[in-house]
């Protein structure tokens, strides 16, 4: 094994970085946005206003509309007209061309979308530029190709669209989640009413502008910004045939209750508490990178985050030492800086939740550690945090924190690793690190999770189905399986 670079002495990094901020001019933010209904931006009927705030600077970025029930009505009605009109009768090959166009326009406006996303969400520009936006384009590109091949997709000879889809998405990957929802729905021939998250509405509004540039027929996609009340009136709307939700298990449960006994189809992509399992034979340097990516990617605001590190006891001390050394090199700060690894926490509410759970970790007896790290004065921030001496009963080992907080537990045998990994009400994802292929497959077989990453983590692809077991929800997004969520087979 090659010798490792010694840990930096004291708090001084080896290298100083000069600031490398991305220009925000390309964002072309407007001071206020209407609702995108029936093919145009419109003033609201119910008329309240929300401010969307930059999590890293607390500045108001823009005013957006808080859509009320009558706005939701108008959007659903527009979607229904489009479904019964041009979109419903359009040949799949034509729908495909619209989706290909949208994919291309996202690529063309990638820089703008990345900047808007980072300003509004607080995630590092490096991530929005290299992950969120390219994956969103890829998703449209992938599903575009399905639109005229539905009868070959394995859902019977004559699969039909469901109708109007009401889609409620979270704030952690605003544009990407919009793409995950819209692309398969449109490919399958549905029309959509999309409700972006309260704190991150801007990229969906830029996407609406892209849909106009793509000349998508009016009403095929409608974007209603707002808060939880807007989402609730959308999922409860009688004119909606399909509800798709990504977000917390708590809200998912309420949605499932509200659609019970109706005709509506439902898919839910909910919370997680993924185990990232490191065996002693793993390539540990690579594993440490994977652990970091698993929990500190997007500030840990990831439903499939590897928030529980399960490490084989014989290498636990080594791995934790290596991890701490690596975390000391992470750069937290201005999300617009191209060298930033850890951005801002999306909202004060989310920050409060992270603080509460981290405090509970200390109270329950776990050992808390963060690298030396200065938090900016403005904005909402939380340092990368590692808890050791964590017991499976601790809240930080059971509850989804949705922040940059890692709980370290150990195991001695593969059986114990499986038992601990599965000892959760969630089942969204899991990670396995080992050099042994047969062990990867044996572990994958036994882990009750919808996605199992081996020697990698937090990797996504439009062809790869994603979704949960147990209380992490049901239905899949991505791949052929993702089409099934929008077809009446």
């Amino acid at each position: 094994m090659a010798e490792r670079v010694p840990a930096p002495s004291g708090d001084r990094p080896i290298f100083e970085y000069s600031p490398a901020p991305e220009s925000r001019a390309v964002a072309r933010l407007q001071s206020s946005y209407g609702l995108f209904v029936d093919g145009a931006f419109r003033d609201p009927i119910d008329g309240e206003v929300l401010k969307t705030i930059s999590p890293s600077s607390e500045e108001v970025l823009a005013e957006v509309t808080l859509a009320g029930p009558r706005d939701v009505d108008a959007a659903v009605a527009a979607a229904r007209r489009a479904f019964e009109g041009p979109w419903g009768s359009m040949p799949g090959a034509q729908r495909a061309k619209y989706l290909f166009r949208i994919a291309r326009l996202i690529q063309e406006r990638a820089r703008e979308l990345a900047v808007v996303e980072t300003l509004d969400n607080g995630k590092p520009i490096r991530e929005s530029r290299d992950v969120d936006v390219p994956l969103a384009a890829a998703h449209f590109f992938y599903y575009a190709g399905w639109a005229d091949k539905l009868e070959h997709a394995g859902f019977g000879p004559r699969p039909r669209a469901l109708g109007v889809a009401g889609q409620v998405i979270p704030w952690n990957f605003p544009l990407l989640m919009a793409a995950w929802k819209l692309a398969p729905a449109l490919a399958a021939g549905n029309t959509c009413v999309l409700k972006p998250a309260e704190t991150t509405p801007l990229s969906a509004l830029v996407l609406a502008d892209i849909l106009q540039q793509a000349e998508l027929p009016a009403g095929v996609v409608n974007v209603v910004t707002g808060d939880g009340t807007t989402g609730a009136s959308l999922v409860a709307h009688e004119g909606v045939d399909k509800v798709a939700f990504t977000g917390s298990t708590e809200v998912g449960r309420r949605i499932q209750e509200s659609v019970a006994g109706t005709h509506k189809h439902l898919t839910l992509e909910l919370g997680g508490k993924a185990a990232n399992i490191v065996f002693a034979d793993a390539a540990l340097d690579q594993a440490v990178e994977g652990i970091v990516n698993g929990i500190f990617f997007n500030q840990g605001h990831v439903c499939c985050a590897g928030s529980r590190l399960l490490v084989e006891e014989s290498v636990a001390d080594t791995v934790v030492d290596m991890l701490k050394r690596r975390l000391a090199t992470l750069r937290l700060g201005d999300p617009m800086d191209k060298n930033t690894d850890i951005g801002a926490i999306n909202s004060p509410e989310q920050l409060a939740r992270i603080v509460t759970l981290a405090d509970a970790g200390v109270d329950e007896g776990a050992e808390r550690w963060s690298p030396p790290c200065t938090l900016p004065e403005k904005g909402w921030w939380f340092p990368p945090t590692v808890f050791t001496d964590v017991a499976p009963s601790h809240r930080i080992a059971r509850e989804e924190i949705f922040g940059p907080v890692l709980s370290v537990l150990t195991f001695r045998t593969p059986d114990e690793a499986v038992e601990r990994a599965n000892n959760t009400t969630y089942g969204l994802s899991a990670g396995v690190w080992t050099e042994k292929g047969s062990r990867i497959l044996a572990m994958a077989e036994r882990l009750r999770a919808g996605v199992v990453w081996a020697n990698t983590f937090n990797r996504f692809d439009p062809t790869s189905p994603f979704g949960g077991f147990k209380e992490s929800g049901f239905g899949r997004e991505g791949g052929r399986h993702g089409l099934g969520a929008y077809l009446d087979a």
Binding site: R253, A260, V452, A454, T456, R459
Partner: protein
Amino acid sequence: MEVKKTYKLFVAGAFPRSESGRSYVVEGHDGRFLANAAWASRKDVRDAVVAARAAQPRWAGATAYNRGQVLYRVAEFMEDRRDQFVAAVRDAEGGTARAAQRQVDAAIDRWVWYAGWTDKVAQVAGSSNPVAGPYFNFSIPEPTGVLGLVAPHASSLLGLVSIVAPAIAVANTVVVVADERRPLPAVTLTEVLATSDVPGGVVNLLTGPAAELVPVLAAHRDVDGLDLAGAAPELAGQAEAAGATNIKRVARPVADDHDWSRDPGTSRLLRFVETKTVWHPVGI
């Protein structure tokens, strides 16, 4: 003098009476007394769920080939008792002998159909996915786990088989609430299951009022999914809402006039599976 049979519950491969000691009268289509059936309690529901949970890993761990043979053996044993099933269906539903025979034939055929599916479903519902990176990425269907099933009223044997067979073909284990007024063909089916190599606990059957039993199943946190095929609309709506407690997968009721003899396709087979996607590294 004829020796009459006592109709009991079927839990963990055994035939207990209800722990509550209760029973209720089952009448034939013509109102004549047929039998006293066990009136299962909440405790019986919980015991049945425990049995189903205990049986699930082993059933899922069996090879698909083995599960197929077990399901096929159910068909063989039903064929053996064909006349008994015809009589049971006719007692329950009335109608002509021919109609009852057709239903029994179709029920036997349905076991054969699903027996053949056990080792094909992963090939049809699974995939390898061409991700943009050095990974072998594949998706496979896995069982949802423990299911609660509500048997349909209209088709006392074929309807029941049509929801039980696909659920267990993909390695779920089940707790079935038999139709309240027509439970006897279902109990007779459990006697076949008990002797045809279906491991104890894979299928558990409760008789009694759906309105009493279904809510307990729906709210049970160790039940992963509900097939409400035979539930009345109001009960089904309540059960679906209660199922949100632990995000149960729910199949909604089928229409009373549903034709169970139709080609079932794959929709019930794929109703209670979870797609697992694995990213396996590729490299030298």
